[in-house]
């Protein structure tokens, strides 16, 4: 235990004097991740808000063939623009992204309406242009309500109740909480936290293993009558200590920066107060040990500082795999998934953000399983240091 503490203390202090460690643990993760996240969120939210509030701009070709429709759209607040040209010109304009939407009204529109025939109009849009998706949906719904208005008048003129053609009315009742709605956007948050935590220990893990060997200080260290287990655990715990510093700073930075994300403009709330922040740190602690052990193990196998750097950078992607999987398949928080490290942390943090109560069994399984994986990898790292080949 004594040697373990000596190694831990020395590695923590020595790395505090190393610019790479300090920059990555105190700046890169804790400042970079929340900053990037906040900017990303604000851009997304701003786009959604603009889509909802800005007046819809609609170019119409052949507006003179349907003066009533144009008047209806104007009445609904649409800024109607005259489009000069035929259907082909409209298609070209949309393809070239000069226009997002063009409504084309054929010359026989009025005649068909008058004779009670279905009158086609064409709405040109590019569905791959996600920035126009909101406008397209709004234009479609306006056209649909114009059509149903005409239908209502036609039925009324014939003495029939419009209710006859509406056998079913679907009322959508949205039960999601404001915090719950925000989660789809905040889904990335847990990965940013995992990432910043790993970054905090990255250079410590390299310095204490590949770095130590490259400097030639590993062999003198191994000539000491000290159990290899204590050396390795001391190194892993030193990496963990730096990861915890990075984790705490990152979560604190998120708690502050999320106040500047204007979730309320969409009727959403970020449930990230001091209590949730503390719980997030608690949920992440077992993962810190696993991450530190894994980085130490991988870096121990590399031959040089640079090689360790490229391996560990690749390693940073591993925890994203289950998180991506969960995001794509919309995996709910289930006890059966709690044994998967990084996924369980992601799900638990998501639950915290949604203000859902955490099931004690879920927290327990997540912590126990992550710690068990961590202990297993720490044991592997110790074995690795007992091998003669560790000298390189």
């Amino acid at each position: 235990m004594r040697a373990l503490c000596t190694v831990l203390l020395k590695e923590v202090v020595e790395n505090a004097r190393d610019r790479r460690t300090v920059v990555s643990a105190l700046l890169l993760g804790p400042l970079g991740a929340p900053l990037l996240f906040t900017v990303l969120m604000n851009v997304t939210l701003e786009r959604e808000r603009q889509g909802l509030e800005a007046p819809l701009e609609l170019a119409i070709a052949g507006g003179s063939h349907a003066p009533n429709l144009v008047a209806f759209l104007r009445g609904e607040g649409v800024e109607v623009r005259e489009f000069q040209g035929d259907a082909d010109a409209a298609a070209r304009a949309v393809r070239a992204r000069e226009r997002r939407l063009v409504l084309v009204i054929p010359a026989d529109h009025g005649a068909r309406l008058r004779s009670g025939l279905p009158a086609a109009v064409q709405l040109y849009a590019d569905s791959s242009d996600t920035s126009a998706a909101g406008e397209r949906v709004r234009a479609e719904s306006l056209l649909r309500s114009y059509a149903s208005q005409i239908a209502t008048w036609r039925l009324a003129a014939r003495g029939l109740s419009p209710a006859l053609v509406r056998p079913l009315i679907v009322d959508e009742v949205d039960l999601s909480t404001p915090a719950g709605r925000a989660v789809t956007l905040l889904g990335m948050l847990s990965y940013f936290i995992v990432f910043a935590t790993l970054i905090g220990g990255l250079y410590v893990a390299i310095d204490t293993t590949a770095g130590e060997r490259e400097r030639g200080s590993l062999e003198p260290l191994l000539t000491l009558p000290v159990a290899r287990r204590e050396l390795v655990l001391g190194k892993i715990l030193a990496t963990s200590a730096w990861m915890i510093v990075s984790l705490v700073l990152t979560v604190a930075a998120f708690a502050v920066s999320l106040r500047f994300v204007r979730l309320d403009t969409l009727g959403m709330a970020a449930n990230f107060g001091p209590r949730v922040a503390l719980a997030t740190i608690g949920v992440m602690l077992p993962f810190v040990l696993l991450g530190a052990a894994l980085m130490t193990l991988v870096a121990s196998f590399t031959r040089s500082y640079r090689e360790a750097q490229s391996w560990l950078t690749a390693l940073l992607l591993i925890p994203t795999v289950p998180i991506m999987f969960a995001a794509v398949y919309q995996v709910p928080t289930r006890l059966a998934l709690m044994w998967i490290p990084s996924l369980s942390q992601h799900l638990l943090i998501s639950s915290l953000l949604k203000a859902e109560p955490l099931a004690p069994s879920s927290v327990l399984v997540s912590a126990a399983s992550t710690l068990a994986f961590g202990a297993l990898i720490a044991a592997l790292a110790t074995r690795c240091y007992r091998r003669e080949q560790i000298l390189g």
Binding site: T6, L222, L224
Partner: protein
């Protein structure tokens, strides 16, 4: 006292060390001399416990390194080939780290560090970070670290590699002083002159085997010219022709 008994080590198909016997007595400097690749470093690594022998044993003051590593290595200070120190720690902190790992602490440790700083004349840069140290300065810090627990036995693997003349000189004086204090010093080198100038006993190894051993005078008597260099070359040739 250090005793190696028919020590052998094999890496895959390569016999690196094939039965080395040697004794490094207290109060004497023993030189392990041999060409590059003769098995000097492997022999010493077997002695200071980072490699495990396939056969034979290494005894430090009678304690078997493989069986009682903690007790045996506690009586040994080992300086591996090209040993590095921690650049972000000061000279003193480098020594203190190894002292703590050796189980020393408190005022005992600090007094010991002060004594080593004085003995090795590192006072001038003792509290500077090791980052910009010269090769000679780094070796002195590494030596202080090796001596922190006042070991009876000392093993140095090619310690004077890359040292300039004044640094080599002060290093030799230190080794002589340790011998006079009754320590057993075993060091390896491929430089004839250094071994001739310093050693009380010489062990010449080649191809993983001891090919000659004795005092410099005894070895010189084996060749007509009476030069140590000729004796060295003759010893190597005897093996290759045999």
């Amino acid at each position: 006292m250090i005793v190696l008994e028919s020590l052998a080590k094999r890496f895959g198909a390569v016999d690196a060390v094939r039965g080395v016997d040697l004794t490094a007595a207290d109060g004497r400097i023993t030189g392990l001399l041999g060409p590059n690749g003769a098995g000097k470093s492997t022999t010493l690594r077997l002695l200071y416990g980072v490699l495990r022998p396939d056969r034979g044993r290494a005894l430090i003051d009678g304690l078997d390194v493989a069986r009682e590593p903690v007790a045996a290595l506690g009586r040994l200070g080992a300086l591996p080939h090209n040993a590095g120190i921690y650049p972000q720690l000061t000279a003193r902190e480098n020594v203190r780290y190894f002292g703590r790992l050796r189980g020393l602490d408190g005022t005992d440790l600090e007094r010991r560090i002060d004594a080593l700083v004085e003995l090795l004349e590192i006072g001038e840069y003792a509290d500077r970070r090791a980052k910009g140290f010269s090769q000679g300065q780094r070796l002195k810090v590494a030596l202080a670290r090796t001596l922190v627990h006042a070991p009876q036995n000392l093993v140095l693997d090619e310690p004077s590699n890359g040292l300039d003349v004044p640094a080599t000189r002060s290093f030799r004086q230190l080794i002589l002083r340790l011998r006079d204090a009754g320590h057993a010093v075993l060091f390896s080198s491929h430089v004839m002159q250094e071994v001739a100038a310093l050693c009380d006993d010489i062990v010449i190894i080649s191809d993983g085997r001891v090919v000659a051993h004795g005092t410099p005078a005894e070895l010189m008597r084996t060749v007509a010219s009476g030069s140590l260099e000729d004796a060295f070359v003759a010893a190597l040739e005897r093996v290759t022709t045999a």
